[in-house]
């Protein structure tokens, strides 16, 4: 891992397709068995009592509460926004979620729904989830979302270009989107399930960070394999090493497939013991999830009252 090299050493990496390829292919390989074993072993940490209470509140505050359906309506998005601001109407000490995450055409509705709160509006863009369209269409998609008030943009990379080895094309697209974002923070989605190998995920992570990603994000939630402890651990190693080398801190967002408090806490343990406590903040770590929030709320009620309430004691939106 190039952790001790001076920060300026990365400036010429993106000079051409071949320098970029040499750099990405020069990153240390990932041993799949070892990576998964490490993720599994951190999954055995036992988080109880005060630590659990801390972790649940932290996890709630890190949720990007998401609806990304063809059937999304203003009513659905408004309900989601209300839930993000007051996740548990019976307990106002419950933290707000970090953001709501919607399609670009729902950004206006979402902004109204969370107005006056700290909840951000994130919008997927760039022809989410496939990303298979022309760059100017993707950029228009981004600009529309930003113009409507999106605080954050979740873009997808061109996996086809990545798998074809055209790294500079992927890089150029990310930088173009970053520019179109203006002041909005950019999350770059790799769709790790389609990149398939851990070596690819490490390369994509560095590629995204070099191109100016504010967050690197596992997946869209629309494919068979989404966030896993192992791919998230790998991306946490990448942001850790990137900061060590460049001084720039980048966030991580696992998305899709994280449904229980137990799972979420395992991810927080990964953050804590890999990237470190600097990432234990919703500015630097998010969960892309929808059903997770209700499980976190039920666990929170259980810790507070000592008994399980059940699904009718949290809101269904």
């Amino acid at each position: 891992m190039p952790t001790t090299a001076p920060a300026h050493s990365l400036s010429d990496v993106t000079a051409s397709d071949s320098t970029l390829r040499r750099f990405l292919h020069g990153l240390p390989g990932v041993d799949a068995v070892g990576l998964e074993a490490r993720a599994a072993s951190l999954g055995t940490r036992s988080i109880k009592t005060t630590a659990k209470a801390y972790a649940i509140d932290l996890a709630i505050s890190m949720v990007d509460l998401t609806t990304l359906e063809g059937a999304d309506t203003p009513g659905k998005v408004r309900a989601l926004g209300a839930k993000a601001v007051h996740p548990d109407p019976t307990d106002r000490t419950t933290p707000m979620t970090a953001a709501v995450c919607v399609y670009p055409d729902m950004v206006t509705v979402a902004k109204e729904a969370v107005a006056g709160s700290d909840v951000k509006v994130a919008s997927v863009a760039t022809a989410f989830p496939a990303g298979r369209t022309a760059l100017d269409v993707k950029l228009a998609d981004v600009r529309e979302a930003v113009a409507a008030g999106a605080d954050e943009i979740d873009m997808v990379i061109d996996r086809g270009a990545f798998l074809a080895g055209r790294y500079l094309k992927v890089y150029d697209e990310i930088t173009a989107v970053k520019e179109a974002c203006g002041g909005a923070r950019l999350k770059v989605i790799f769709e790790t399930g389609e990149l398939s190998t851990y070596d690819n995920i490490r390369r994509a992570s560095w590629l995204g960070m070099l191109a100016g990603a504010d967050f690197i994000k596992t997946s869209t939630g629309k494919v068979a394999v989404n966030a896993t402890p192992a791919n998230t651990l790998l991306m946490l190693e990448a942001v850790r090493d990137f900061r060590a080398q460049t001084g720039v801190q980048v966030g991580v967002k696992p998305a899709g497939g994280i449904r229980t408090s137990k799972d979420a806490i395992k991810f927080l343990v990964l953050v804590n013991e890999t990237a470190g406590e600097d990432w234990l903040d919703n500015h630097w770590f998010r969960f892309g999830a929808s059903s997770l929030l209700n499980d976190l709320l039920m666990q929170r009620q259980k810790l507070a009252t000592g008994r399980y309430s059940g699904p009718d004691y949290v809101t269904v939106d």
Partner: protein, 478 residues
């Protein structure tokens, strides 16, 4: 260790295990006092609390136990293999059923973290009995000729670092092949062997097939020297192993020795770095480094030394040392005051000889036997810490320039038990592995164990193999 996300204590409950105030010797299916009435105390290394008082076997008890084993041998060896297998399968299942209890017990008596006894020791113990149970009725097909015969009475002496696992390594193949055993557990960790005696009774194992004699070195010496023992198996220090070899020389006793090690973990510049760091940590800090096959020498290619050591130190700083019963503890207690003194002395010698010592900020508990994870850099082949087995959480870091130099340095030791190779290049793994004089060579992993895989040493690490098909040979008259 992060301060904002402080893990609350998560202790495994002690109430699952019921430790009696005293235990006898297990001879001929009964618990009995020592003939001379001697007892010794076993303490919990993490707190120095006395756990129990255990009968200490003397020469007379050894004789009684060997006689019981001899008597049981006739019927036990005559049983069809499929019948012996039933007992072994039963024992394996009882171990699984009682695994939580045994894990807590082992952690209390040994000092190692519950995470390890729960996730490594106990699953491997059960797996070992299952594996050799499977062999019991297939010995004709093991490659040792038709109807290979057992040896008779096996005298077995085991160490304190993996008390129940070493017992399984010894007893499972012995019983599967039709031998009977007299086993001496280590004086600092006798309890799990005595619980195993109870499991033998629970499984209905015929009397005398397994006999357990707690005691010190003199008990082991008497067992090894007993004229009616046909087979001696020992795991422990090279010094004691040599003594046993001298005792056994000139007799017809068959001998296997599994002794010390100074394993080299070789990290090439094209290694998967994050996983290599994990492997280095596992290699030297698993069971507080009290592992004969520990990767206690790190051989790192000089060109990546600085970045690898940065990563390694950052990782070592996250290790959680403390109450072994806490489910989040990574580093437990050293097994005894004696072992702690040995580790301390060798580490001090390393410092005195000019190697650079590093440990993370790490608060040690006030009672019990503790040693912080320690790295030594600027170590050369000439340093004692590069040559002597420390048997503790102390890693000596050396560098190399070429694969040839890595192999030469890795082999330049009196031992030859284990080695590790870290590279993404498959051809290099095969080329280097072929040149290493070590009984087990791991590639891109370390300290992985499986009952199907033979384990044993070159040179002063011993001879004979335990585990796998090869492990049967030590208990057969072939």
């Amino acid at each position: 260790m992060a301060s904002v996300f402080e893990y609350a204590p998560a202790p495994e409950s002690r109430s699952i295990v019921d430790i009696a105030p005293s235990y006898g010797l297990f001879i001929d299916g009964e618990f009995t006092e020592a003939a001379d009435g001697k007892v010794f105390k076993t303490v919990s290394p993490s707190t120095e609390e006395v756990l129990s008082e255990v009968a200490q076997a003397g020469a007379e008890d050894v004789d009684r136990a060997v006689k019981a084993a001899r008597k049981a041998f006739e019927k036990w060896s005559a049983l069809p293999g499929s019948e012996r297998a039933k007992y072994l399968f039963r024992i394996a299942r009882i171990i699984q059923e009682r695994s939580r209890e045994l894990a807590v017990l082992e952690t209390l008596d040994n000092g190692k973290p519950i995470k390890e006894t729960r996730d490594a020791d106990l699953p491997l113990v059960a797996a070992h009995f299952f594996y050799y149970a499977g062999w019991a009725d297939k010995l004709d097909h093991a490659g040792f000729g038709a109807s290979p015969r057992p040896l008779g009475v096996a005298g077995q002496v085991i160490p304190w670092n993996f008390p129940l696992l070493m017992l399984a390594w010894k007893i499972a193949p012995a019983l599967a092949t039709g031998n009977t055993v007299v086993l001496k557990p280590a004086e600092t960790t006798p309890l799990s062997a005595l619980f195993f005696a109870d499991i033998c009774r629970q499984a209905g194992l015929p009397k005398g097939v397994v006999n357990i004699l707690p005691g010190y070195g003199d008990t082991g010496a008497a067992l090894v020297a007993h004229p009616d023992v046909n087979k001696v198996a020992f795991t422990g220090s090279t010094a004691v192993g040599k003594e046993i070899a001298r005792t056994v020389a000139g007799t017809r006793k068959k001998l296997t020795l599994e002794l010390g090690g100074k394993g080299a973990n070789i990290v090439f510049d094209d290694a998967p770095v994050d996983q290599a760091v994990e492997g280095i940590v596992t290699g030297i800090f698993f069971n507080q480094g009290q592992v004969c096959c520990a990767g206690s020498r790190l051989l790192v290619q000089e060109s990546i030394q600085d970045e690898l050591l940065d990563s390694l130190k950052r990782r070592v700083a996250t290790l959680r040392l403390g109450d072994p019963l806490d489910k989040n503890t990574d580093i437990g207690a050293i097994n005894s005051a004696e072992q702690l003194a040995r580790i301390t002395a060798l580490a001090d010698q390393g410092e005195a000889e000019g190697a650079e010592r590093w440990s993370p900020a790490c608060e040690l508990p006030s009672s019990g036997y503790w040693f912080a994870p320690t790295l030594f850099t600027n170590v050369t082949q000439a340093h004692a810490i590069a040559r002597d087995e420390i048997f503790g959480p102390v890693l000596s870091v050396l560098t190399f320039r070429t694969p040839e130099e890595a192999v030469a340095k890795a082999n330049n030791t009196q031992y030859g038990l284990s080695a590790g190779i870290w590279t993404e290049k498959g051809s290099r793994i095969l080329a280097v592995a072929n040149k290493l004089r070590a009984g087990v060579v791991w590639s891109n992993t370390f300290n992985k164990f499986d009952p199907t895989s033979p384990f044993g040493g070159y040179k002063e690490s011993g001879f004979g193999r335990e585990g796998g098909r090869h492990g049967l040979e030590a208990y057969l008259d072939v």
